[in-house]
C-alpha cells in the first residue's frame, strides 16, 4: 500500500488540471493519486485559460501547440466580463499603449485628452484590437507580438487530454462513485459551491468561481501549483495547510474586489478597503495601487475601472515632460501602428 494517497474529485477538466500537475510534480514512489471524475459537466462554455497557462504547461511538459490543435484552441487576449448594468467589459492581459520614461501610457493619454479630443483609451490596446479582429493570428505569430495571451479550449477535449496525461504520469482515473475514499490521506474537492478555499485536516477545497472567464483555470492551476510547492508529509503539515489557505484566501479577496468593481454603481463608495483604495488613488492621480497576491494584472484593473466610469482627475506630472506637439504626434503614431499591425496579422 502507498504511504500517501490523494483523491481528487471534480469534472474532467477540473480533475484534469489538478491531476496533470500533481502527476508530474507530486507523484513519486510511495505515493498514489486517484482522480474521481464527475462526468456530468453540463457547462457548454469553453474552458478559458489565462496567460499563465504557458508557464504551467512548460513546467509539466505539456505541448501547448499540440493541445491547441487537438482541443479546439483559440487565443484569448482579453477576458470578457459582465458589469452590473448588463454591458460587458473586456479585460486585456497586456498594457494599453506602451510605457515611456518609466510612466504608463494612460498617463500620457490623459494629458493628451486635455489638449485635444482623443480616441478612447481602449483604441490604444493591441490586445483588444487583436481580440476583436475577425481572425485571430496563429500561436506562432502571437508569440512574436508584444502581447500576453491565454487559450480557450473545448472543455471536454481539454479535460480528456489532461486526464490522459495524468494517467500516463501514474494517476488512476475512475468515475465518481467508484473511488476508494476511506484510505485517502487527502481529498481535493473542486467545488463551485464552496464559499472559501480551505485546506484543513484531510480535505482541501478549491472554491471555483467562473463568472469571469479564466478564473476557474486560475483557481485550479494555482491551487495545484501551490500545493505542490508546499507539499509536506500529509500526516504532519499544519503550517503548510495554514499557508496554503492564507494565500488562497488572499487571492480570493482580490477577485472579490474585481467582482465588486464590476457590480456596484459607485466603486469609490465600496466597503471593500482595497477596492476603495484602488478607485481613490486612481481618481486622485491615475495610479493603480496593487496589493499582495493580485490575480488580475494592472491593465485588467485599468480596463475595469475605465469601463465603470472611474476617471482620474489629473495625469501624472511626469507626463508633462513631453512637449504638447510631440505628445500628440506620438499618440497618433501609436494608433496607426496598432491598426497596421492588426491589418498585417489579419492578412497573414
Amino acid at each position: 500500500m502507498s504511504a500517501e494517497r490523494i483523491l481528487v474529485r471534480g469534472t474532467p477538466v477540473q480533475a484534469g488540471v489538478i491531476g496533470a500537475y500533481l502527476a508530474s510534480r507530486w507523484l513519486a514512489a510511495g505515493r498514489a493519486l486517484e482522480l474521481a471524475i464527475d462526468p456530468e459537466d453540463n457547462t457548454a462554455a469553453p474552458f478559458v485559460t489565462r496567460p499563465s497557462i504557458h508557464r504551467l504547461h512548460g513546467e509539466i511538459g505539456l505541448p501547448t501547440d499540440q493541445l491547441f490543435a487537438r482541443c479546439g484552441g483559440s487565443p484569448v487576449l482579453a477576458a470578457e466580463a459582465q458589469t452590473a448594468d448588463g454591458s460587458s467589459v473586456q479585460l486585456p492581459f497586456s498594457a494599453f499603449g506602451v510605457p515611456r520614461g518609466g510612466l504608463e501610457f494612460h498617463q500620457y493619454w490623459l494629458r493628451a485628452s486635455r489638449l485635444s479630443e482623443q480616441a478612447d483609451l481602449t483604441e490604444f490596446s493591441l490586445s483588444l484590437a487583436l481580440q476583436n479582429a475577425a481572425h485571430k493570428p496563429p500561436l506562432a505569430q502571437l508569440a512574436q507580438l508584444p502581447v500576453e495571451f491565454g487559450i480557450a479550449f473545448d472543455r471536454a477535449a481539454y479535460g480528456n487530454a489532461l486526464l490522459s496525461f495524468a494517467k500516463a504520469g501514474g494517476a488512476s482515473v475512475v468515475e465518481s462513485g467508484n473511488e476508494q475514499e476511506q484510505d485517502a490521506d487527502l481529498v481535493i474537492q473542486c467545488s463551485p459551491d464552496a464559499g472559501a478555499p480551505k485546506w484543513h485536516g484531510q480535505e482541501l477545497t478549491i472554491a471555483l468561481e467562473s463568472d469571469i472567464p479564466g478564473l476557474e483555470w486560475h483557481h485550479l492551476s494555482s491551487a495545484a501549483r501551490r500545493f505542490a510547492s508546499l507539499a509536506a508529509p500529509l500526516s504532519n503539515c499544519a503550517p503548510e495547510q495554514a499557508e496554503w489557505t492564507r494565500l488562497a484566501v488572499a487571492e480570493n479577496e482580490r477577485v472579490a474586489d474585481m467582482r465588486e468593481l464590476l457590480s456596484i454603481n459607485d466603486p469609490l463608495a465600496s466597503s471593500r478597503p482595497a477596492l476603495q483604495r484602488k478607485a481613490e488613488v486612481f481618481v486622485a492621480c491615475g495610479r493603480i495601487p496593487t496589493e499582495d497576491y493580485e490575480v488580475f494584472t494592472p491593465p485588467e484593473w485599468l480596463a475595469a475601472l475605465w469601463a465603470r466610469g472611474v476617471r482620474p482627475r489629473r495625469s501624472d506630472r511626469m507626463a508633462e515632460r513631453l512637449p504638447d506637439a510631440q505628445l500628440l504626434d506620438w499618440l497618433d503614431q501609436l494608433r496607426g501602428q496598432i491598426a497596421s499591425l492588426t491589418r498585417q496579422v489579419q492578412a497573414a
Partner: protein, 510 residues
C-alpha cells in the same frame, strides 16, 4: 490658505537623503515645470555615516543617468558582493549573505530544495559553494556582469561601499548641474498657515525666508518639519530591535579593499567594517542598557585594522518610523522618516523607496489626501518588511554569553515573522510579499547561516534520481568555482576602470 498648485519643492537638509531627493526630483520633475530648492547648513553638518548599500542603488544611479565608474571614482567607492556575518549564530561561526542568488533551478524546482535533499543524503557542501557572490567575495574578486558574460557571471549581484560625505557632494554637483538651487543657511523656524496647518515657508538665519508648495524633510534625526512642525508621532520598535546607539570611526586601510561588508556580533550589539578605496569605515552599534559608550568605544578602537583617521563619532537613535511619513504638504525622507539599524544596509534603500513613491504619487496640489494615504501605507509596509528580516538575525541565535543576547534570543517576535520562520524551517518554503525587498536567497542565507535553515525538503525535489542530483549539483559547484577563478581581483578591476585619486588624511578634519 486655499489649495495650492505644487510648483516649488523645498528640501530641508543636504545629507544623503536631501541630495538623493534633489537629484531625482530634478531629473524627473524639473522638465515638467517643478522647481527644486535645497537648504542645508554646513555648520550643523550631516550624520556622517551610511556607507554601505544594497543592489537596488545601481538602479537609482542608472535612472539618474549616472556613469558608474565616474561615481565609484569620485566617492572613493568599492564594490560590495554581500555581507559576512561573524559570531551571529554562535561564537566562532560565520556565514555570508550574498547579493546574487544560489544555484540554478532545475526542472522548475527551486535550487535550494535540491540542495536540502543532497544535504539529507549526507553531502556537506554548503550554500556558499553554489554562490558566485560568496566565492568571489572570499577570493577578493569582482567583475561587473555584462550581457555577454553568460548565465553564471550574470548571477552576480552587487552594490557599493562609498564615502558618505563624498556621495552627498557628488549628488550635489549632479543636482546643481540639473538646476537645483542650493541655499546655505540654518533653518530657524517653520512657518505654517494658521488655518490649514500647511507649511508656507522656512525662515532662515539672517532674516531669509524660503517659500514653497511642498516641503521635503531631510533634516536627519531632528525631523525639524515632520516632527517639530507637523507633529507626526514615532512608532517605536525598540522592543524588537533594542540597539539604540552607535560609535563610528574610520581607520587606515590595510591591503586591498575586500568586496564585502563585515558584521561581527559583539557583547551588546555588532560591529561593522566597510572597506573603501582610501580608508576603512568601522562602527559599533549597541544597546546602552547593556554597554556604556566608553566600553563600546574601547571595543571598537581595540579591533581596528589600522590607525584611526577620525575621532570617534557617537550617535543615538530610536528604532521605528513615523506614524505618518507624509503630513499635509510635508514628506519626510531619510533619517527624519524613521530608522532601522544598518545591519543589512537598508537606510539608503529606504530613501530610494521614499523618492520613488513620491515621484510616482507626486501631487498636483497641496490637497492630496489620497496620494498621502497611499504613500504612508506603502512606506509602512517597506519598513515592516525590513524590520522582520532584521529581527531574524537576533532571534536566530544560540548565543547566551551576555544579557543582551539572552534578551533577543528569548524575545517575542512579530506574528508576520513567526509564520514565515515556521515555514522556512520546516521545508524551506518561502512566499515573498509582492513588495518585499529581501527574497528567498537572503532569508535562506541568514536562517541557514544561523542554524535555522530548512530541516527537510520539498518532495518535488525527489523527481531527480540521486545520481543525476549529485551530478547536476557537482557541475554547478564546478561552474561557480571556475567563474570565480577567472574573475579579476577587486583591486585590479578598480585599478583598471575606476581608481580614485589618493586622499591624504592629514588634511581631513578630525
Amino acid at each position: 490658505m486655499t489649495e495650492q498648485q505644487i510648483k516649488r519643492v523645498v528640501i530641508a537638509g543636504g545629507g544623503t537623503a536631501g541630495w538623493m531627493t534633489a537629484a531625482a526630483l530634478a531629473k524627473m520633475l524639473m522638465p515638467a515645470g517643478v522647481s527644486v530648492t535645497l537648504v542645508e547648513s554646513e555648520a550643523i553638518g550631516t550624520v556622517g555615516v551610511g556607507e554601505a548599500t544594497i543592489p537596488p542603488i545601481t538602479k537609482f544611479n542608472t535612472q539618474l543617468g549616472i556613469d558608474e565608474h565616474t561615481f565609484v571614482r569620485e566617492t572613493q567607492a568599492t564594490f560590495k558582493l554581500g555581507i559576512e556575518f561573524a559570531d551571529w549564530g554562535g561564537l566562532g561561526e560565520r556565514y555570508f549573505h550574498p547579493f546574487g542568488r544560489y544555484g540554478f533551478d532545475l526542472e522548475g524546482v527551486e535550487f535550494h530544495q535540491y540542495w536540502s535533499r543532497l544535504k539529507s543524503l549526507g553531502d556537506e557542501h554548503g550554500l556558499a559553494d553554489y554562490s558566485l557572490n560568496t566565492l568571489a567575495a572570499y577570493a577578493g574578486k569582482f567583475l561587473r556582469p555584462e550581457l555577454d558574460h553568460g548565465a553564471v557571471i550574470g548571477q552576480l549581484g552587487y552594490a557599493y561601499h562609498f564615502d558618505a560625505g563624498l556621495y552627498a557632494a557628488f549628488l550635489r554637483r549632479f543636482a546643481e548641474g540639473l538646476g537645483v538651487t542650493r541655499i546655505e543657511g540654518r533653518i530657524e523656524e517653520v512657518e505654517q498657515d494658521s488655518a490649514s496647518g500647511l507649511i508656507t515657508a522656512l525662515s532662515l538665519d539672517h532674516d531669509r525666508r524660503i517659500e514653497g508648495d511642498l516641503f521635503i524633510d531631510c533634516t536627519g534625526f531632528r525631523g525639524l518639519l515632520i516632527d517639530g512642525a507637523m507633529g507626526s508621532a514615532h512608532k517605536d520598535w525598540s522592543h524588537w530591535l533594542p540597539c539604540n546607539r552607535a560609535v563610528a570611526v574610520a581607520c587606515e586601510k590595510q591591503g586591498d579593499p575586500l568586496p564585502y561588508t563585515r558584521s561581527t556580533a559583539r557583547e551588546a550589539g555588532w560591529q561593522w567594517r566597510i572597506p573603501l578605496q582610501h580608508r576603512t569605515g568601522n562602527g559599533y552599534v549597541y544597546c546602552d542598557e547593556h554597554l556604556s559608550a566608553e566600553q563600546a568605544e574601547e571595543t571598537l578602537l581595540g579591533s581596528l585594522d589600522g590607525a584611526p583617521v577620525s575621532s570617534p563619532n557617537h550617535l543615538r537613535f530610536r528604532t521605528g518610523h513615523r506614524e505618518e511619513f507624509w503630513v499635509g504638504n510635508c514628506v519626510a525622507i531619510g533619517l527624519s522618516s524613521g530608522f532601522l539599524e544598518p545591519l543589512e544596509s537598508t537606510s539608503i534603500h529606504l530613501i530610494h523607496m521614499g523618492i520613488a513613491k513620491l515621484v510616482s504619487l507626486f501631487p498636483r496640489s497641496t490637497d492630496a489626501p489620497v496620494e498621502r494615504a497611499e504613500y504612508n501605507r506603502l512606506m509602512t509596509d517597506d519598513f515592516t518588511h525590513v524590520r522582520d528580516f532584521l529581527i531574524l538575525h537576533y532571534k536566530a541565535t544560540k548565543r547566551d554569553d551576555s544579557p543582551f543576547w539572552d534578551y533577543v534570543r528569548e524575545m517575542d517576535i512579530p506574528d508576520s515573522l513567526a509564520g514565515k520562520l515556521e515555514l522556512l524551517k520546516s521545508q524551506g518554503r518561502f512566499f515573498k510579499y509582492d513588495a518585499e525587498l529581501f527574497d528567498v536567497t537572503s532569508w535562506l542565507a541568514v536562517a541557514e547561516g544561523q542554524g535555522w535553515g530548512p530541516q527537510g525538503f520539498n518532495p518535488i525535489a525527489s523527481g531527480l534520481s540521486e545520481a543525476n542530483l549529485k551530478r547536476s549539483l557537482s557541475n554547478m559547484r564546478a561552474s561557480y568555482a571556475k567563474a570565480a577563478q577567472v574573475m579579476p581581483t577587486h583591486q585590479a578591476y578598480i585599478d583598471r576602470f575606476c581608481k580614485a585619486a589618493p586622499i591624504s588624511f592629514a588634511t581631513e578634519p578630525a
